[in-house]
Symmetry: C2
Subunit: 233 residues, 2 copies
């Protein structure tokens, strides 16, 4: 049993925030939300006839009103889809400033299969639920209440999700997000970005290491296709 | 023989721009420039007593005067080291606008082992020589003289360097750099970024696939440590 994998399968554990596997090129688009739904009811994985009033797209049943309101506030053209700057506006007003870099990663991970540069109600609701879970983890592990996650806090947070990330990786992650004093620390958007990267890469690794040996074999094509989407957004 | 590796070893071939392997955490700092020097003389891999006049740091012998001038112009405090915004100023004036994202990747890849947030004369000269080679490739493969590299041009450029990157990866790469018409196309800094990412990841892959089988096995720690530095800058 390798140290990275404390969970018995590569499915998302309840305490680990869900992240759609939408960057896998080999998967048919109909499988778009094949992951188990997160514990909260507002991320129901398929569209339903419950209309959002926005151009024929639908929010899943049980979507909290504030999620719908947030979406409709930024979708000014009422197209039923929002682009990256609209998503940035929505999340920055609901949470705190989201960098465009984090927004691009989120757009990529939660993209609409039929229109990758836009996000519809279904993806938005799933993302919102997911961010709520990351936020709970952020508050839980920001033990000094600094509003930032430092390297020790990050390591503990990732371990709580089942990811025993080596110290060298923690250092590289944190050193890229420095506060105004040059100390490595992650604001909420940085934390979401790091968390989703570690989670996404670990899940990809586990797919090739089903017996938890701690090592995995990749073809060159799979290797590039798995990594590049995390690098280029 | 896997299709990605047309070169007999994982050393840098003459037509492939060199990139220091400085992100490998497992390598002792004394090996900082262990790669074969590129064909041009101005990237001599070790410091020499040929003073730059800048705070005790040295340019390698044969460094072209314009490289030294460019460095000294941006190193206003004459510390002998430049930071990321100084590097951005130097490269943007020598070439064209370099995005801060590309600059961060370059700082990371060409970092000074003893001071990772700064770049000294040795690293700057190596980077300059490397960029000159990427520029030659850019011009050679921008066949329509658009000033941008499109997906077909990128694929051909990477193949010419020995990297048979699958079409799916080309699409993901290019789709992240769209021109004002929404068409995927790479400006020079985007091209350098993509090229160095593909090159860096391919070299890492080849290190684990020394017999060119087209597949490679990684431990979880190696896997994360190899990829994360490309993702987070
Ligand atoms: Zn809209
Ligand atoms: Zn804190
Ligand atoms: Zn300086
Ligand atoms: Zn062109």
């Amino acid at each position: 049993m390798a140290e990275y994998g404390r969970y018995p399968s590569h499915n998302y554990a309840p305490s680990a925030p869900p992240m759609p596997d939408s960057y896998s090129a080999s998967r048919p688009p109909t499988e778009g939300y094949a992951y188990p739904p997160p514990p909260t009811s507002h991320s129901y994985p398929y569209p339903s006839p419950w209309a959002s009033g926005a151009g024929g797209s639908y929010f899943p049943p049980g979507t909290p009103p504030e999620v719908i309101r947030s979406f409709q506030t930024v979708d000014r053209d009422r197209s039923g889809f929002i682009d990256e700057s609209e998503l940035q506006a929505a999340l920055s007003s609901a949470y705190q400033k989201f960098s465009i870099r984090t927004i691009r990663l989120l757009m990529f991970l939660f993209k609409n299969p039929s229109n990758p540069s836009k996000m519809g109600p279904v993806e938005f609701a799933a993302l919102w639920g997911c961010l709520g879970q990351w936020q709970a983890i952020f508050y839980r592990f920001d033990r000094d209440r600094s509003g930032k996650i430092d390297s020790v806090e990050l390591k503990d947070a990732l371990i709580s999700l089942g990811y025993a990330v080596p110290q060298s990786v923690i250092q590289v992650l944190v050193s890229n997000y420095t506060d105004s004093y040059g100390r490595g620390a992650l604001s909420f958007d940085n934390f979401v970005e790091c968390g989703m990267i570690v989670k996404g890469l670990t899940e990809k690794f586990k797919e090739k290491d089903t017996r938890y040996t701690g090592s995995a074999t990749f073809s060159y094509d799979d290797f590039l296709m798995m990594i590049i989407p995390f690098i280029v957004p």
